[in-house]
């Protein structure tokens, strides 16, 4: 069982400024699966991602990737170990073209060339827009580009933060399809407010509330448990 775990977050505590945001979060992600982090706004989901990435280093606890402790390392080193990050709010580079946005994500020369086919089959729109500057893209297209960028290098693990936020329903469908295909290639930790989206994508879940991971298990069990959903996820 142990050697099947790609990432293990073990009881981490993280401060942002003077605020004790994470007060004991544990997440375990098996290889090749999609795990969803659930919880209300401000529960600490994004901070958990930032702690894994070293952008907000945890002060306590361990982050173990493939059996190696990575907490406290520099962010770019962590990224280079094979973690791709899709931040929330369509985090592309607006002054670079679509092509440049993809090219900049290469870790070694030729990465983009190898993944081109996959990326354009997931997001056919991007092929048409390849020369446009990022700032000319619509919100949905920017989100596609942000996900596509994380696909360029070979990543063991993708951290995706709120991919469906602010997208039109038809685009959410497309995004879900893309993430589903992705999980065939890579392991995904998905932060998602939209429970319907999360429940259709992820095999298992971790619920975070007020900086603690309070519940985890199989997604099918959660979907059949309206009481837990009501208690932790629906607007209070």
């Amino acid at each position: 069982m142990e050697n099947n775990t790609l990432l293990k977050v073990n009881d981490i505590h993280t401060f942002i400024g003077q605020f004790h945001i994470l007060q004991g979060v544990s997440v375990e992600i098996p290889k090749g699966k999609i795990v969803s982090l659930l919880g209300r706004n401000g529960a600490g989901k994004t901070t958990t991602l930032k702690s894994i990435l070293g952008l907000a280093p945890p002060t306590q606890g361990q982050v173990i990737l493939d059996g190696e402790e990575i907490q406290g390392r520099r962010s770019y080193d962590i990224a280079n170990m094979g973690i791709g990050f899709v931040p929330e709010h369509r985090a592309i580079f607006r002054d670079l073209s679509v092509h440049e946005n993809l090219l900049i994500a290469e870790r070694k020369k030729g990465d983009l060339e190898k993944k081109e086919e996959l990326i354009f089959s997931l997001f056919p729109d991007l092929k048409r827009l390849i020369k446009l500057p990022g700032t000319n893209l619509s919100g949905g297209q920017q989100q596609m580009l942000a996900v596509a960028r994380a696909l360029v290098p070979d990543n063991k693990l993708l951290l995706i933060d709120e991919p469906s936020e602010g997208l039109a329903p038809v685009l959410i469908e497309q995004m879900m399809e893309a993430i589903r295909q992705l999980s065939a290639e890579s392991t995904v930790l998905l932060v998602e407010q939209n429970f319907i989206v999360a429940s259709q994508l992820a095999e298992s879940y971790v619920i975070i509330e007020e900086g603690h991971s309070v519940k985890s298990g199989k997604m099918v069990d959660l979907a059949a448990d309206p009481e837990t959903i009501h208690r932790y996820l629906e607007a209070a």
Partner: protein, 362 residues
């Protein structure tokens, strides 16, 4: 390599290069002809022009050379602030070191020009390394203030009594004899063309840098450093690269100033001179490179003509012009042109509001 990438965005062939840089190439051509056009209007025969006889053409060549020097200086600052997003308030130090080093090595040590230019470039790198000590620790305005502090130390040192025999203290460094072939009085036309070539060589080098993978990372750092880090880039090295390239270019601009101007004044190393270059790229359009050229020309020509017409009152009028530029062309001349969004109406509304204190209906 090119045809395998999703779309060949690079311009490779000569005709593409010409198309992409049409405006710049026409500008180079016009500037190349400028001394002759001026001589023509002034009724000066070509032979007299080539002999560098005094006249309108020679005078304006001098003004143009000053603009070329400022343009190189502005290009270097645009690379730092406009492309990489590093706000430095100590950029004048690079210019000052270039100018003083050139003057001192010529006057006191009798070096010849090429080794001096090499030394100046090395000095640019060394200063960039000094600035970079604090680079991983401080960001934004804190970095600006640290650089201001370092540059002010240099500004004070250069005026010190102890160095009076070398740097001339607060009066400035006088009596530097540039090499005869580059004498700005007797060979001004040659100096003009060398300056013209230098500006556009620097321009195309920096443009190439911005279009390179390294340049793209610099743009990414300006937009969002965390995102660039998350792609696996150690942003420190990229900021250092931009700082070094910018430092070399600014120091070489200073060296040109040292060769051209009869007195190297300490003012060129002061914070005023950093503010001046900031104004140039804000006027021209930040982060555009073309804007640095336009901004430098606008800056120098404005102060020249306004001083000529209004004398002492020109400072007030220059201030007014800056305010109008900010109101009507908030992204600078080139930036606003690229956006094609002239905020003329909004500018008027703001202006009327400011004077009447009343909100206007738009």
């Amino acid at each position: 390599m090119e045809n395998t990438s999703p779309s060949p965005t690079r311009q490779n062939s000569f005709s593409d290069f010409f198309k992409g840089n049409r405006g710049i190439l026409i500008t180079i051509l016009l500037l190349g002809l400028l001394p002759f056009i001026l001589a023509l209007f002034d009724g000066q025969p070509i032979s007299s022009l080539l002999a560098n006889d005094p006249g309108k053409s020679k005078f304006y060549q001098g003004l143009a050379i000053e603009i070329f020097i400022l343009a190189i200086y502005a290009l270097s600052y645009d690379l730092l602030l406009g492309i990489t997003g590093l706000l430095s308030f100590g950029h004048a130090m690079f210019f000052g070191v270039g100018a003083y080093l050139t003057g001192i090595m010529l006057k006191s040590f009798g070096w010849s020009l090429l080794p001096i230019l090499g030394l100046v470039a090395v000095a640019g790198v060394v200063m960039a390394l000094i600035f970079s000590i604090v680079l991983p620790r401080v960001k934004g305005i804190t970095f600006a203030l640290v650089t201001l502090g370092i540059a002010q130390v240099f500004y004070i040192v250069i005026q010190s009594r102890e160095l009076v025999n070398y740097a001339g203290a607060e009066i400035g460094l006088q009596g530097v004899t540039p090499p005869e072939f580059l004498n700005p009085i007797s060979h001004r036309l040659r100096f003009y063309y060398i300056g013209l070539v230098a500006v556009f060589v620097v321009y195309f080098i920096l443009k190439r840098f911005v279009d390179s993978p390294t340049g793209h990372v610099c743009v990414a750092i300006r937009e969002n450093e965390d995102r660039a880090t998350m792609l696996g880039y150690n942003t420190f090295y990229f900021k250092l690269a931009a700082l070094m390239l910018s430092g070399i270019v600014a120091a070489l601009a200073g060296a040109m100033h040292g060769l051209f101007s009869p007195i190297i004044r300490p003012g060129i190393a002061s914070s005023h001179y950093t503010i001046a270059v900031l104004l140039m790229i804000l006027m021209g359009g930040i982060g555009t490179l073309d804007g640095a050229l336009i901004g430098a020309a606008t800056f120098r020509l404005l102060s020249f003509w306004l001083e000529k017409w209004f004398g002492g009152a020109s400072q007030v009028i220059i201030g007014l012009v800056y305010i109008l530029l900010v109101l009507f062309l908030p992204y600078g001349i080139v930036g606003t042109w690229k956006l094609r969004g002239y905020k003329v109406k909004q500018g008027w509304v703001d202006l009327i509001e400011r004077f009447t204190g009343k909100k206007q209906e738009t």
